[in-house]
């Protein structure tokens, strides 16, 4: 059995590389029954989105300053 720690590591890696078929299957099975890891996945995706917005926002904040 994979622990939530293992799964969250895979979820995080999945944002930076393509997981193998087996890894994706493992994650999917676990997420079906684990709310916290499901939240973790959603939230890390959100954080990625937020980071991009932040960079765009930084540009326009700097524009306003100058």
């Amino acid at each position: 059995m994979h622990s939530c720690r293992d799964i969250s590591i895979l979820v995080s890696q999945g944002l930076d590389k393509k997981l193998s078929w087996r890894e994706r299957f493992t994650v999917r099975m676990h997420l079906m029954m684990c709310t916290r890891c499901r939240n973790f996945q959603k939230q890390t995706q959100f954080i990625r989105k937020a980071a991009r917005h932040y960079t765009d926002g930084l540009q326009s904040r700097l524009d306003k300053k100058s």
């Binding site: 720690r5 930076d16 916290r36 954080i47 930084l58």
Partner: protein, 198 residues
Amino acid sequence: MTGTLLTEKNLSAQRPVLFRYALLQLHDRELADDVVQETLLAALQSASDFEGRAGLRTWLIGILKHKIADHWRRSAREASVPEFNQIDEDDGETEQDEFFMSNGQWNGGPKAWADPEVALKQQEFWAIYEACQNNLPPKMAKVFMLRELVGLEADEVCQEVGLSEANYWVIMHRARLGLRECLEIRWFNNTKQEKHHA
């Protein structure tokens, strides 16, 4: 693979990443633009130095770093040499783990977040996001920013910071865990939020 890689078109395709890199260090849009421009020109002029081995982007960032360093040297703002270049001490690689219990189950762990998309439109959220990002240990923050803010690929981040792949996975995992927890505590689970919704 040399030669063909160094067309003007290929170079300018790298412009956005270089620009974000420069912007995060210089905090000045025009300056960042200038430095990137200089970098691309220098790259064209020294095309013969490019060995293709390192990868185009890694090579360009190498040049960019020199240009940024030149800038700091010329300007009087030496004291404010930013976050990015000066961190080499290890952090975030401790084995001790506050996010999980010894059996690998979450210690606390991710709760559901109400309406994260709404947060993106709220100014107060960005102050907290920034604080949480800056709260990460320096090296972790650097790795996170190179990946998520600048937009480098994982292997490029490893080259840039001098990390093994295994270290990279550990650091990014902990960065995401840390940022997530901070946002949850300071924003999503905070009753202040209700006000903004109403």
